[in-house]
Symmetry: C2
Subunit: 330 residues, 2 copies
Amino acid sequence: MVLRLALLGMGAVGRGIIQAALEKDLGLIITAVADSRSGCIDPNGLNLPELLDRKDKTGMCGDTGISAETIVKTAPYDILVEMTPTDARSGEPATSYIRDALQRGSHVVTSNKGPVALHYHELASLAKKNHLQFRFEATVAGAIPILQTLIHNLGGNEILSLYGVLNGTCNYILTRMAEEGLTYKQALDEARTLGYAEADPTYDVKGIDAAIKLVILANTVWKKNICLDDVDVTGIDLLTEEALRLAEQQDATIRLIGEIIPGDNIYRLCPRIIPKDHPLVVQGSLNAIIVRTDLAGDLLFVGKGAGSRETASAVIGDILSIRDIHAGGN
Amino acid sequence: MVLRLALLGMGAVGRGIIQAALEKDLGLIITAVADSRSGCIDPNGLNLPELLDRKDKTGMCGDTGISAETIVKTAPYDILVEMTPTDARSGEPATSYIRDALQRGSHVVTSNKGPVALHYHELASLAKKNHLQFRFEATVAGAIPILQTLIHNLGGNEILSLYGVLNGTCNYILTRMAEEGLTYKQALDEARTLGYAEADPTYDVKGIDAAIKLVILANTVWKKNICLDDVDVTGIDLLTEEALRLAEQQDATIRLIGEIIPGDNIYRLCPRIIPKDHPLVVQGSLNAIIVRTDLAGDLLFVGKGAGSRETASAVIGDILSIRDIHAGGN
């Protein structure tokens, strides 16, 4: 059985999915794609080389008369792959797209933190009621399949706590401040030049991005019901190079660490002084997560925290999980 | 829907499964259990506290008239959980049990390296033909869910190479030789005293155990068809404390590293000198694995390599994956 995908978003991640569908034998066809200005639908599967070529030449994937909303509500597909930009305040329009797709009887995979952080319980209930999958591996820790691991692979374990470096931009800035003695501003400028930080880096450096990931972890792994205000957040924007120098003198360094201790309802993100040989002292834009469990003991996961290929990897992993469940796991 | 388990083996891992079924709400009942001398069957679910008590008092779980073979062939169950001791040469009797269960239409979870290293392709084909699951997470890397991660979560990635510390006993010995300047023999004796090494440690220290794990990885993740003889194996039993001292002088140490480069058909296990700050330099009985992928980049996994709770964690993870596939993923 060939599964039909509808993609919302044709940036680097969307292109990565299309490339993978072209190059790898995944048992999938893409029946609809929307970008911010246009859309295209073919119930028999779009011609993907033509699609990529059209997008390159015109900046649009299809006709301006076909919107994301049209695709969600009318195109034929088994899985909606929702990759529109995150709006962390409203979760829209992504949440409406996801809700509509689930109500139509389609599975949903998203890379969008907004809907998961704000509306997980509603969307997961709707999925469950309709016997559908709702997956969002790409929203936390980039290439590390941490949600599948905690929710599925370690099922049966009680996850007692989680500590982690969850924002690659902050980790890059802290690494460069410590390595090269750069000031916060110099390191931030370098991160911007290299494309690791946005023009407006507030979302990363104030810790909002990492805190949203803690909300997603808390609500999905532990079925809590918290929001961003429930996380105790300190970013790295007020950190001085003196603080880092002092840490270095003790063979330590500073990392922005997120922490969840579900039994005590602790959800915290703050810069911490940690010994240089600690496993969470990863370099550059890496992410690292330690989980403590009742049966499996302590586990460490390290991998790239962001990037379009890494996000595509997470999205494809979710799509293939759904394909495998459809096929009875074979 | 409540899934019915038949357990073969009631050592520490089997007890761990029974304890988990008692303490956690896993949606499972246990309808049959065999140990090496006896067995018991109850189609409505065994009384687990009574079962544990009987085993403690008599050393047997049930009646001597009920064998593992009887259970495999006649008891009512949805999943056979095969945890008998590994025979790495013949794979028996475990392979016959697994074959019979798959032919009867039951899923199989095993912690036994023999059948997977020797007969993976036959057993996986049989499972696929009968639309059944055949899972064996516990056979590699203890508590780290590396097989689920590579085969399922990172599905869609090409896994380009794998490097890892796959035997906790050897890693413990190497750690103690480096830390305390112990001789190989002293460190081995200590590992024996602490229960990390068997009375006959040949299987671990000559690298056979880790090499079998490489065979399992090669055949299941990359669908190769190799056997133990195809792995280039050097153990740690001839390693001198001088070699370790020389490594230490260069701020390095020695670890027993398994390596798979599938594109070049390289399957190798040997002691290697690596810098002390390398992520594979883990301490004590830990395992560590680095995989290189085309989309997700490099990923590192670290966790306990052995132990009955850790093995139980892996077995339960497999059981719950099957339960979730049965339930359509919800």
